[in-house]
Amino acid sequence: MKLAYYPGCVARSTGREYEISTLAVCRALGIELAEIDNWNCCGATHVSNEVVSTALAARNLVRTDLPVMTSCSICYSRLRAAMIRLKDRHMRKRVNEALEKKYDGEKEVLHVIETITRALAGAEDQDPGDLIVRPLAGLKAAPYYGCLLTRPGGGIDSPENPSILEDLIRTLGAEPTDFRLKMKCCCGPIFMPEEEAAAETLIRILRNARASGADFVVALCPLCHLMLDANQPLLEKKLGEEIDLPILYVTQMAGLALGLAPEELGMEMNSVSTRPVLEKLEKIEGKKAEEEGAEVC
């Protein structure tokens, strides 16, 4: 399978380990990615003029004939929202006034979780064990969706109570926890000017994830990840409370199950150490190997 790859700006800075693990996982799944030539920022949530933001998304879409894949939920939502706006002929006409290559219709836009889910489902028909060489049995993962993966609706999964991430966690051998705030917005888009407002929500999300019994949280969006991971030590300091909850990107979790080494998944780049997750997995595997060894004897 060959897909056009839209990295989004964050992939080249604060979300580097998301890109590293996205590329590694796609390689392992036999998915070829062709980066969109001269792609531009989608505008994220910061371009209020809708004609402009729609044109920004459209400029990326017209640069390829392949289905487009991105790992960023904001980019993903922006591309999908733009295609909805562009159904309107006035909007299409306006946007095309500024575009060099004209927008002439929808195309398939995928989030990396869809790509992984599909690749694994496709492989299961043949041999389920082939790809998942290191099942994450014994690990508990809090599925954090954030807002934009499923919105503005009509796409990947229910915008109210999706299950695609829990399903993937199970497929990879781990157990999803009952994480009540899995859809609660991380407030990342207003973090820079409105830090106080965001902090209050973030701490609730982290406490709830912890209370769900999770060994780690799974993130699908680089902004959610930034808010929960890099920001976590700052929140701890601010509140004088230890949280110490590793936040893995969905691609880091999937990569581990596909047998990739932590270094191949950029796991040393996470702010909150991912060591406890790896150690627990090794311990469980060690115990299992011991039991199996005992049986053989």
Binding site: C9, T14, C41, H46, N49, C185, M192
Partner: protein, 212 residues
């Protein structure tokens, strides 16, 4: 009957400027905003509602009543995280988030400024000039323009720099830039700055269609 009388009163007292403001929001956010039944689903769904001075539901009401000054003065428009929950839930298929976006656009057009609009301005200008966002440049420029943010940004930088996620040094900090920047400029200048006239022409077309 009483409700009807109130509505009529509100319409008749709307100033020409109020009317112009309402119409501009309707062009930017969609004419369906007029069908709002004030049910409050948007406010009840909003993740930052508890921090807002004016609930989203009331913001929509202010728009429809042409209460420009009050609507634009609300801190709520800058506390919206664009999570779209209001938009997927609205029983009238209105996009309350688009109303907020319209208010931000008008706020900026009127030359008003606050720390949040400064941030959005820097963000948009970087896309227009470079095609992509450099998080280093974004933070640095915002810190200069809004010095009270310095402590927070420096603390975050101290987390990110050792991880190699924010690189210092001119070349790295400059970030990635794209070729064909004229197209980016055109997107912002052609579609952004003359958006007001576009609004009017679209409205004229709408009236024409309605007349037919």
């Amino acid at each position: 009957m009483k409700t009807e009388a109130t509505t009529t009163a509100a319409t008749t007292t709307m100033t020409p400027e109020g009317e112009k403001f309402r119409d501009r929001v309707l062009v930017l956010a969609g004419a369906e905003v007029k069908t709002c039944i004030q049910c409050g689903t948007c406010s009840a769904s909003c993740p930052t509602a508890s921090l807002m001075d004016v609930p989203i539901r009331k913001l929509v009401k202010l728009v429809l009543e042409g209460e420009k000054v009050e609507a634009l003065a609300s801190r709520s428009i800058w506390l919206c995280t664009s999570c779209l929950l209001c938009t997927v839930r609205c029983p009238r298929k209105i996009r309350p988030m688009a109303v907020v976006a319209a208010l931000k656009t008008i706020y900026e057009e009127e030359g008003k400024r606050c720390k949040d609009s400064v941030f959005e301005g820097i963000f948009a200008r970087q896309i227009r000039d470079y095609g992509r966002i450099s998080e280093f440049l974004l933070s640095a420029e915002y810190m200069i323009r809004s010095p009270s943010s310095a402590a927070q940004i420096m603390a975050f930088g101290a987390e990110l720099v050792p991880k190699g996620k924010i690189e210092l040094g001119f070349e790295a900090a400059r970030g990635e830039r794209i070729e064909g920047i004229e197209e980016m400029k055109r997107i912002f200048e052609l579609l952004g700055d003359d958006g007001r006239e576009e609004g009017e022409s679209e409205k004229a077309e709408e009236t024409e269609e309605a007349e037919k």
